[in-house]
Symmetry: C2
Subunit: 310 residues, 2 copies
């Protein structure tokens, strides 16, 4: 058969409770805990649970400490938290986050608009955060946002992404992910970015990809990543979230749609699809709007028509 070797298994980081809910109308701490606890029973091993930003900046993420204290932690699951700065990292560690996430944009404009700092200033902060986290025995994952394009600057040179990735590696971060912040990736750009970062000595099978389905190509971009051996992907249950730059548009790729496709490709995820669909329906109920997930509506492909003959 004339096709590439896909990875045997894929690790999914569920980002719905943070990246998803951050872009929804706020729901209560209790509801966020309920969603995370349901996700903990699906077989997912990595759940982005909170963001230690100032509540005034992102009201939907208020009460991060209460969320981290309220969830029933399950052995084997890493509950991670986004931290925007050293103060956030201190809070995140105090709340016993298993892993911290830092975000740096590949676009100078986006970085300044997003966190009011230059990329260099953000990189300097990462060094401090890594030192703090490692001192506490915790890991740091760095996410390079606007990797495939920026809503302010347009195209982003893969070489710039690779340079930032290489610098981040030098800071001692434990993991690297590349984010398609506003759904500007296509399979060609996935290949070009992976070419560039491999050229910088970073292996494709050692990084994570974070796609948005804002222009419909989310799972096609995943497939391009799989073709190159990438085995870590972010996704949001039900497709929670949206695109801050395009009202009504879709955000993160949908976890259960991703799991459904991977299952049918024979790629292990360790996730119970039915339980995950249950979480997507719960997420939809909690936010009170129809979510973009497809499999939660159609059911898995194994679901045949009632009264079918076989």
């Amino acid at each position: 058969m004339n096709r590439s070797e896909y990875p045997r298994s894929v690790a999914i980081r569920e980002v719905g409770p943070r990246d998803g809910l951050q872009n929804e109308a706020p729901i209560s701490v209790g509801e966020r805990v309920r969603l995370i606890d349901a996700l903990s029973l699906t077989g997912l091993r990595r759940i982005e649970a909170a963001s230690f930003v100032a509540p005034s900046a992102i009201p939907a993420m208020a009460g991060a400490e209460e969320v981290m204290a309220g969830i029933k932690r399950k052995t084997g699951i890493a509950y991670s938290a986004l931290v925007p700065n050293l103060r956030g990292a201190e809070r995140g560690l105090a709340a016993n986050s298993d892993e911290l996430e830092v975000v740096i944009s590949a676009s100078e404009t986006h970085n300044q608009r997003n966190v009011n700092r230059t990329i260099d200033e953000s990189l300097a902060a990462v060094i401090e955060i890594v030192a703090l986290a490692h001192g506490a025995g915790k890991k740091v994952d760095a996410i390079v946002s606007t990797t495939f394009g920026c809503a302010y600057e347009g195209d982003v040179e893969p070489s710039r992404v690779a340079a930032i990735a290489a610098t981040l590696r030098e800071t001692g971060v434990d993991g690297l992910s590349f984010g398609d912040t506003t759904g500007m990736a296509s399979p060609r750009r996935v290949h070009e970015v992976l070419d560039a970062i491999e050229g910088a000595g970073i292996a494709a099978n050692d990084v994570g990809l974070h796609f948005h389905n804002t222009r419909g190509a989310g799972l096609a971009n995943v497939l391009a990543g799989l073709d190159r051996g990438v085995s870590q992907f972010d996704a949001s249950v039900g497709g929670l979230g949206g695109c801050p730059y395009a009202p009504g548009a879709t955000g993160n790729i949908v976890t259960e749609d991703l799991v459904h496709m991977l299952m049918d490709m024979g790629i292990e995820t360790g996730v119970d699809l039915d339980a995950l669909i249950g979480c997507a329906l719960l997420a939809q109920e909690l936010v009170g709007r129809e979510l973009p997930g497809q499999v939660m509506r159609s059911g898995p492909r194994s679901k045949t028509v009632e009264g079918a003959t076989t």
Copy 2:
């Protein structure tokens, strides 16, 4: 770069006015003509315009003759029509369809439920339709439905698909397409089906693929096809249509999302994306419900945020 050679250009058959609208609440003949005429100005070269079924069977397709007579035909565009039987073919040719489409299911159960005939009976009818069409100097495209799975029977063996495809070739049909009728394909199945039909002597670059996005993997399946050199795809403007087996679920892949992805991959389609987005917005207005298209909501990736610095 470690990736396959994609085709330089792709031909898209726009199926919204037929496969799409067939699954929507009926709109008037005048509205259908308006949509087709708008699509004729986008650069699309193949538009499925009507279905010559009994209006009692599919009310949304009533008035096929009036549609074909009402549209402003543009040179270089093939306006095709689905014909379910010899009587439909006679009507389709009398209405001056440029191309007829016949559908045969790879699943015996689906074929019988769909047209109340065995696959063999359908194949016999195709021979008659081909003779009639060729006598009138017109072409016939055969679509093998349920190629990637059947909502009644579940999995469909690729060898069965290949056998039906080979038999269809012998009937003298001018083109062959493979339909994922209810969104059960995945990239693995695309490769397996293409393996099987290539094994039967039919080249991947000589067939069309017809995907539904019912489980979110529509454009990933397109990418798998592109990886194998497939250069003909069906799609529906705005994502018109739906899945008859799953109320509220998505049907055909979205034409403008497909065009957007192909454009960014450097693959020619000849289609003006802005004009096509205009058609998607028109389609949404005509059917009076929110369509699943993503690019019509978010805009193309070239659209930067207002007030962006560059």
